[in-house]
């Protein structure tokens, strides 16, 4: 396996060069900043969560490496329109895929697109880059739910 097979696959480069859901939301239910203290990558995540707990919109403004940007872009696609509960499951699954040292955690069919990021697991330093958007989303969901109450 080469670096291009693991890390810099075409799907990742596509998301890196053309990040989906890039931008801001004016009246966001939640707006959260994420930082990777070691490399300085930054990310602002905007969320619109409806009364009945659906992610109606998610936007990202990210300054990071290819893995970080692609991960955020793919994440936005994966959770768009999902319920908060389902989004949390997806986050959980993704983190498991990245962090489980014992075994390869399979992805459900509807999360297939995230498969492209599996290769990151082999590069411990980069796992943090891939996780930053997801951890930020987790914070964002908590804030959005708190705001609703």
């Amino acid at each position: 396996m080469s670096l291009s097979d693991d890390l810099y696959r075409e799907t990742i480069l596509d998301h890196y060069h053309n990040p989906r859901n890039n931008g801001t939301i004016d009246d966001a239910t939640a707006k959260i900043e994420g930082v990777n203290p070691l490399c300085g990558d930054e990310l602002t995540l905007y969320l619109n969560v409806s009364e009945d707990g659906k992610i109606q919109d998610v936007k990202l403004q990210a300054h990071g490496c290819s893995i970080n940007m692609a991960s955020g872009s793919m994440m936005s696609e994966a959770v768009m329109g999902q319920s908060v509960e389902r989004a949390k499951e997806i986050i959980e699954t993704f983190k498991e895929m990245m962090l489980n040292k014992e075994q390869d955690v399979p992805l459900e069919d509807d999360l297939e697109d995230l498969e492209a990021l599996r290769g990151v697991k082999k590069y411990p330093v980069r796992i943090k880059c891939a996780l930053l958007p997801w951890n930020t989303l987790l914070d964002g969901l908590a804030e959005a739910c708190a705001a609703k109450k």
Partner: protein
């Protein structure tokens, strides 16, 4: 002093033989180590000194009466002489062993600083300071109700001296300045700045973490009051460094840590402290690493710091010229290699430093990517981070060529267009 490139290359060949790690193979490629500003590699003499110490005369120092303790003490204290000569200190008692640059600065901030910085005082810093020479002063300023004031840089990352002479004034109590930037490579005019500061009665601490390994440093000529550096960046082991300070200042400071070895006498309720330098060295010291650090200095002295500097100026000039031809590249800091150290920070349009670092690693090239512990400077430069290649005595022009070639490759891997 000027050598031909041939001379330098043959000497570098000899030097490389002393560094076993340079034979290492990474991803099938021979290691090209260009992360020297983070930490340097260690020659055989330094590693051997550790083995010799542990296998032949390991013992606790100062309080022992047996042969090995005497030998260890003599070797440990002897390195102070070596350091004194290397930086031209006035007295060995001014040479305080620390864990590294960071500890040295914290020591000064928490002892000298807590006593001498008063509400309303100003601490002048450059905008290129390493977090180690910034955060301790932030905390001190907050504690003492003092203010941090920043110098200005020109478009080549050099200190604006006119602005400096207005900024350093009667309110200035301390000037904290790096001698050489670990990002821009800029060699700061510490001597001139120290004169400005002293004219207003301020004290000067210079961060020599990047300068001491790479050029001759003379604390008396620089005219500073405190000077700090780390051995791991100058062929020495991890875990040991130096705080040098003027005797008079050190004597007036309270101790930093308390315990064994730093006391003169202890009673239940109170104690009297030992004299310099031991007043600042509580507990069992890092004996082995201090002794090995002495060998690192001797290695550099054998080469001669002028040779070291010449070698790096030549390599840096070559690299700046070579990398400068890449499309979309931006190199930070002074353009003239004579004004800078062998540290080249750069960005390539559309290529994040992390991705660059990862791809170069695939070719066996070790560079650093990120903020280099200089987040405020990154903000000033308007970047999230930079890629950084940094040189030392064993690096060659051939390695610079490998770097340049790998950068073009990286561009391809990442589907970028900048270099096309």
């Amino acid at each position: 002093m000027a050598q031909t490139s041939k001379d330098i290359d043959s000497k570098t060949g000899e030097i490389r033989a002393d560094f076993a790690i340079l034979d290492r193979v990474i991803h099938g490629k021979k290691l090209v180590y260009l992360d020297n500003a983070a930490t340097s590699q260690k020659p055989k003499a330094v590693v051997d000194a550790l083995v010799d110490y542990y296998n032949n005369y390991n013992a606790n120092v100062h309080r022992g009466i047996h042969t090995m303790s005497e030998e260890a003490t003599a070797a440990y204290e002897g390195v102070r002489e070596t350091i004194k000569g290397f930086i031209n200190a006035v007295d060995t008692c001014e040479v305080i062993y620390t864990r590294g640059t960071t500890e040295g600065i914290n020591l000064v901030a928490q002892t000298w600083g807590r006593i001498n910085i008063l509400p309303g005082d100003e601490i002048v810093l450059s905008p290129m300071e390493h977090h180690s020479n910034l955060v301790p002063w932030q905390v001190l300023a907050a504690e003492r109700d003092a203010r941090l004031v920043f110098l200005k840089l020109d478009d080549q990352g050099r200190i604006d001296m006119e602005h400096a002479s207005a900024t350093i004034n009667a309110k200035t109590k301390l000037l904290a300045i790096s001698h050489m930037s670990n990002v821009l490579g800029t060699i700061n005019p510490v001597k001139e700045l120290a004169q400005m500061a002293h004219a207003h009665g301020a004290v000067v601490i210079a961060d020599g973490a990047q300068s001491v390994p790479h050029m001759a440093c003379d604390v008396q000529d620089l005219g500073v009051d405190f000077f700090v550096f780390s051995f791991h960046k100058m062929l020495g082991p991890t875990g040991v460094g130096v705080l040098w300070g003027k005797k008079q200042l050190l004597e007036a400071m309270p101790p930093y840590q308390y315990g064994g070895d730093m006391i003169a006498s202890v009673q239940r309720e109170k104690s009297r402290y030992n004299q310099l330098p031991w007043k600042f060295e509580a507990g069992t010291p890092n004996v082995a690493d201090v002794i090995a650090a002495g060998k690192a200095i001797e290695y550099l002295q054998t080469l001669g710091m002028d040779w070291v500097r010449d070698h790096e100026v030549e390599l840096t000039a070559y690299a700046m010229q070579k990398l400068g031809t890449l499309k979309g590249i931006e190199i930070y800091g002074p353009r003239d290699a004579k004004e800078r150290g062998g540290v080249i920070s750069f960005n390539i349009k559309g290529l994040h430093p992390h991705d660059l670092g990862q791809i170069l690693n695939e070719s066996g090239i070790a560079i650093r990517a990120g903020h280099h512990c200089c987040q405020p400077l990154m903000k000033d430069l308007g970047v999230m981070g930079t890629a950084r290649a940094s040189f030392y005595i064993y690096n060659t022009k051939a390695e610079v060529d490998v770097l340049a070639a790998a950068l073009c490759e990286a561009d391809k891997v990442l589907g970028n267009v900048a270099l096309r």
